[in-house]
Amino acid sequence: MTISPQAFTFVRELVRAESAIVLETGKEYLVESRLVPLARAAGHPDVDAYVADLSKRRTPAAMKQVVEALTTNETSWFRDSDPFTALRQNVFPALAKTRSNRTLRIWAGACSSGQEPYSIIMTALDTPELAGWKIELVATDLSEEMLTRSRKGEYSQLEVNRGLPATTLVRHFERSGLNWRINQSIRDRVEFRSLNLTRPFPPMGRFDIVFLRNVLIYFDLPTKRDVLKRVRQVMAPDGHLFLGAAEMTMGVDDAWERVPAGRSSVYRIREAITVRGSTCVH
């Protein structure tokens, strides 16, 4: 049993309109497998019947559920490790020299189940240059389900195995039944909010650091370009943007320049580097 072309087209267009995620032909199986649980829960015999019903009624809550079911939430602690080392050794110390108010503002723009923003906070706590600093971290995602999980801060054994150093686990987590929960002192440092990257951003102020990792890959070129342009507008001129390992600004939005930071790279707004001439990190 596979999803019908009509149902696939409906889902593809819905997901694209709501999240900018592009589901290419060939992803029928993915769509089917992600929607089976929703179809069952709604009492439909199969995905086609469920989608047919959805396209007739267009209940906003149900449509949102479908979009959320098709996002990929894969993440891990200190994902790829190098960007977080660069944060601690290069980016944080560089910014610490230039912010006299001893405050850093950070945005994690597709935070999934929370590992990324919490990794950023734990990295900040491990950075001597930031001792006593105020870190304002706003973490956002499209998915309400992910935001609820993030706020709760509770992770399974399999999830804490993924990239979390054992010393960090014992320092910042406590057992919660079979799971592990990140300590409240860490949870309280992150503000989780709902935000769709493809829509105009709500007022958030300016950020010194933006994490936008492993989300642009799901968008088409015009959407990537538009998001990157709007990220520039909420970024301090000498700010730092982190992208995923498979993402780049080159050929998408060339107002960004790729700058090495330790064994990783960050993206910085070009004018900042040429006009100010000094602040690039190495």
Partner: protein, 128 residues
């Protein structure tokens, strides 16, 4: 690079061995802590890594890492506990006794590689 896998389950030694060989380790095996000490004694130099189960007959993994840490010539060995034991105080004890990392069974190959990455033991940090 060489890795010593200390586990009384042959199936587990094989699983861990495959993962480690996949990233370029030469793998040595022992079925318990006592046997593992013997393997170390017999080597010309210490391996870079030892993956150690906790519960084993004869000598358990906790005793093994404690013994290893007593010997200065074995100081360079990176010790990773790989075990089903998952209580907070056990992890704390293992770290205090000299383990560098702690991977709880069951785990995925990816999780193991991410631990090796944390320990700086992957050939190139490609971001697993």
């Amino acid at each position: 690079m060489r890795a010593l896998i200390v586990d009384d389950s042959r199936a587990m030694r094989r699983i861990v061995g495959r993962i480690l060989e996949g990233v370029g380790f030469e793998v040595l095996e022992a079925g318990d802590g006592q046997e593992a000490l013997g393997v170390l004694e017999g080597l010309d130099g210490p391996p870079e890594l030892a993956c150690v189960d906790w519960n084993m007959p004869v000598m358990d993994g906790f005793t093994f890492i404690t013994e290893v840490r007593k010997r200065s010539e074995w100081r360079s060995i990176t010790l990773m506990m790989v075990t089903t034991e998952s209580e907070m105080d056990q992890i704390v004890r293992a770290l205090a006794a000299g383990a560098h990392e702690y991977l709880i069974k069951p785990f995925t190959g990816e999780a193991m590689l991410e631990k090796l990455d944390l320990l700086g033991l992957l050939p190139t940090s490609t971001g697993v």
